[in-house]
Amino acid sequence: MKYRVKFWVNEEPVELEVSANRTLLNVLRDELYLTGTKEGCGAGECGACTVIVDGKPVNACLVLAPELDGKHITTVEGLAKDGELSPLQQAFVKNAALQCGFCTPGFLMSGTALLQENPNPTREEIVRAISGNLCRCTGYVRIVESIEEVAAQYKGGAR
């Protein structure tokens, strides 16, 4: 059974026929070739596939494609605007908050969603927001610090 869905990815409209058993992750990676969103487990357990759907961070591997109708989706490809990296992307670069980089898009999306919702999070809130994202390389500390740094910029009015 195919469903016709219309949604937005990084502010661009998309119209597709999708089958019921395909996930948002399949659609992004295999149909739209937006491969920045990664698959680390396909089971909602690693956070590598995190994207922002209507303002909330979700695991794209757990969203069925027919549910996409009318949704606004942001992926890692949509973070930089006019060739300029987002403040969180810049902080990751500056702080060496990534190594192999495979988890990085997922952390950026979780972190961005958190900062949109709560521009002034505590360290505990940051840790909670990224606790569904696994990273095997970094030890997490630079990721947490990068999110804190951007929050501090917001506080300082540098938004």
Binding site: A96, C100, G101, G139
Partner: protein
């Protein structure tokens, strides 16, 4: 010495690609007309394959090719050629999950459906699920043909047993040391199997062209080693195989060797012109990639009353799994380093690699060191307690110093262990007892040391090519892979220092056996050292050529010229200067003739005088190891006596890096290593039952999350490595080595119970506390 670019925390050269989603990992490749592969895997840990019936599967829609073990003419293996890439009909499947057939089809779903339709008949055989049992003479034989396997001459399989290597070290005389000792101890430890868990699963794409050229894209650490293995397995000349490794989403050793590449290639051969792709699932990753071998350790220690270690006798039994891949070499490395970073006169070690019907053991960050140090470093604390001595003083008394001798009898002129130990003791304030905040949450501190040397062939080679562009930018080409550790940032920094140009003028290119020059492997914490030396030599070669041209053009003696900030400058008359870019294509003269371009530098590095150890005794008095990296960790833990939960509050690390090329990247790698060690100490174990992996998902196999992150403190000392580029030595793996035993020692210091097996789980803690109450010790 004043450096311009060495020791500076430049941003990672791959960072922008990785934060934007532009970095291309293997699963991000979609090629036109691409097919998808899936495998049929053995449901038995040890079984004879009676027949494989593919007739029904062949008829299914979308199916383009099916292969069985019959497609494999030759065995392959890095050190011991003991496996076909797929179990052969008539032969045996040797672990639960071993591939017995594979399908390429238009979609992954069609490939899976065809796999489900393949009928395999098995005859189950008695199996080996424990390495110690597997050594016994009556154990079922997993490789009855072992005596006929091709093996590198530094390994010694025992025919008609399951022992794939017996490593022997005989320095001094342990029996005599025990005789003259005041006390002799014997302690046993067990380290279970764990998995590397790179966030990116293994993947491979292969395409076979009509002219016989095979192109393999793989997420792999060592494209040249993969090329070699494939060449042997499939009788292909090396110029007909091109292995390309792009962005690698974490390796930690799991991607060092050859895994699924060997399955994809025969499929691609049958579907000429069409690329075939296979990506492991997370479940595959836990079962069918590599695992860290389990290990049983027994340490006998002969002690003098004052804490001097007179001798040790170690027995290590490694559960190598169904095939050995790197296992025999891990067994050797564990034996080599078995004295730990201590100066001990009598060191006897027997280290055995044993075939079992378990998933295949492979190299995991530390290459045996994390395992042996879990034993060595707890052994010291245990002895200290039992003798009423200080564990710090025992380490100070026995720890290596410059001029000391390793377990293999090699004299070390550089040894930073003592400095690292003191730094760690200071940073964790080891002499100050932990502040207790609750009667049910007991806090305490622990320390551990560690060391590692690269366990690589003594003649392992690295090459680099440095191409200069017309505008004074460069391409540095080598096959030291960027796997997250920072090679693509650090190697250009090394070349930049030589050339005196900003590192961002040098673009790093790696991982293509048709284009980037030879590199033995990106393993063994050798990239900054070996590929770094090659990069430095290439830059020096290029600099020399530029100066040759400049002396003609500038009418000055070569020795009076130098490279400085993108210019060639006269040392005495610095106003005499020309941009380096002017020489990129050579020089030209008034009559229009040209000379000496285009500029290109070549560097090759093989460590000289790096020799094998003596076959019988394991001794080598001069230079069996390229270098030894030493350091220590300290930590503070909090043990909840009601829940058994252990929280690591703080970890501190200090290593002797020789020279830190990029401090931010060094710190980042140190942090990651400590947290990875924390995972093995407290959570991680591949649960195996009758050969079956029971926990093959992130729900059942927990790795550390941000929630588990302790406060992390990173320090380093710099005692230059004489043969290292700018004095650098490798650090990636050693950084992880002392973490787990430091945590184990801290837990013991908190609750007075010793855990000789990792991970230390809440259940273990509660059980131990109940036992302690019953002993009346509480």
């Amino acid at each position: 010495m004043g450096y311009k670019h060495i020791g500076k925390s430049y941003a990672r050269s791959d960072a922008v690609r990785k934060v934007t989603g532009d970095a291309v990992y293997i699963n991000d490749m979609h090629l036109p007309r691409m097919l998808h592969a899936q495998c049929v895997r053995s449901p038995y840990a040890h079984a004879k394959i009676l027949s494989v019936d593919i007739s029904a599967a062949e008829q299914m829609s979308g199916v383009k090719a099916i292969i069985t073990g019959d497609e494999y003419p030759n065995r392959a293996g890095l050190y011991l050629e003991d496996r076909y890439f797929m179990a052969k009909p008539g032969d045996t499947a040797k672990y639960l999950g071993e591939a017995v057939a594979a399908v390429a089809a238009e979609t992954p779903e069609q490939a899976q459906a065809a796999c489900d339709a393949i009928r395999v008949e098995y005859e189950e055989l008695p199996a080996v699920f424990d390495a110690v049992e597997g050594m016994k003479p009556d154990a079922p034989l997993i490789h009855p043909d072992l005596k006929n396997y091709k093996v590198a001459p530094i390994f010694f399989p025992k025919p008609d047993t399951n022992i794939s290597h017996h490593y022997v070290l005989r320095k001094g005389d342990f029996a005599q040391a025990a005789e003259s000792a005041d006390r002799v101890f014997e302690h046993k430890y067990y380290i279970p199997h764990v998995q590397h868990v790179p966030l990116e699963p293994h993947g491979c794409l292969a395409k076979y062209d009509a002219d016989g050229k095979l192109t393999v894209w793989a997420s792999c650490q060592s494209p040249y080693a993969v090329r070699q293995a494939l060449s042997v397995a499939f009788d292909l000349p090396l110029n007909k195989i091109r292995v390309i490794s792009q962005t690698v989403g974490g390796g930690f050793g799991a991607k060092a060797g050859t895994t699924l590449e060997g399955i994809v290639i025969p499929l691609a051969k049958k579907c000429k012109g069409r690329p075939v792709k296979l990506i492991y699932t997370r479940e595959d990753e836990f079962i069918n990639a590599y695992v860290r071998q389990g290990m049983h350790a027994t340490i006998k220690t002969a002690m003098r009353a004052d804490g001097k270690i007179l001798g040790v006798h170690n027995t290590f039994v490694w559960d190598g799994g169904a095939y050995t891949e790197y296992g025999v070499n891990i067994t050797k490395a564990g034996g080599w380093a078995s004295a730990g970073p201590y100066d001990i006169d009598n060191v006897w070690t027997d280290s055995y690699c044993v075939y079992t019907n378990h998933p295949v053991g492979g190299p995991y960050r530390g290459f045996g060191m994390c395992e042996i140090h879990f034993a060595i470093e707890q052994n010291i604390d245990q002895i200290a307690k039992e003798m009423g001595l200080s564990e710090v003083e025992i380490r100070r008394l026995n720890g290596l110093r410059p001029g000391g001798f390793t377990g293999m009898g090699e004299r070390l002129d550089v040894a930073g262990f003592q400095d690292c130990l003191e730094q760690v003791l200071a940073d964790i304030e080891y002499d100050k007892p932990s502040e207790q905040i609750s009667p049910t949450k007991i806090r305490a501190k622990g320390i551990a040391g560690g060391w590692k040397s690269p366990s690589m062939p003594t003649n392992a080679g690295s090459a680099a090519i440095l191409r200069m562009n017309e505008d004074g930018t460069f391409f540095l080409m080598s096959s030291g892979q960027e796997i997250g550790q920072g090679a693509a940032t650090v190697l250009p920094q090394i070349a930049a220092e030589v050339l005196s140009v900003p590192p961002d003028k040098i673009t790093y290119i790696s991982g293509d056996t048709d284009h980037t020059p030879y590199e033995w492997q990106t393993v063994a914490s050798r990239t900054t050292y070996c590929a770094g030396n090659a990069a430095k030599l290439a830059a020096e070669d290029l600099a020399d050529k530029l100066l040759d041209l400049a002396q003609i053009k500038m009418g000055a003696a070569k020795r009076d010229l130098k490279l400085e900030d993108g210019y060639i400058v006269h040392r005495i008359y610095p106003e005499k200067r020309l941009p380096m870019a002017d020489f990129a294509l050579g020089i030209s003269f008034g009559d229009g003739s040209g000379y000496g371009g285009p500029a290109i530098g070549v560097g090759t590095f093989t460590l000289e005088n790096n020799i094998n150890t003596d076959k019988k005794t394991g001794i080598a008095k001069n230079h069996p190891a390229a270098f030894w990296t030493m350091g220590a960790n300290g930590c503070e833990v909090e043990v909840d006596t009601q829940t058994g939960h252990i929280k690591v509050l703080k970890m501190v690390s200090c290593f002797d890096a020789g020279k830190v090329i990029n401090p931010a990247l060094f710190a980042a790698q140190s942090e990651g290593a400590m947290v990875q060690a924390l995972g093995t100490a407290l959570f991680e174990e591949l649960k195996l039952k009758n050969g079956k992996v029971l926990n093959h998902s992130f729900v059942d196999y927990k790795i550390p999350t941000a929630d588990d992150m302790p406060e992390l403190v990173v320090k380093y000392v710099e005692h230059a490595e004489p043969t290292g580029p700018y004095g650098a030595r490798g650090v990636g793996e050693p950084l992880m080595v002392p973490g787990a035993p430091a945590i184990a020692n801290a837990v013991t210091n908190a609750i007075g119970v010793r855990f000789t097996r990792m991970p230390i789980t809440p259940e273990d803690v509660l059980k131990a506390l109940r036992g302690r109450k019953m002993d009346g010790k509480s």
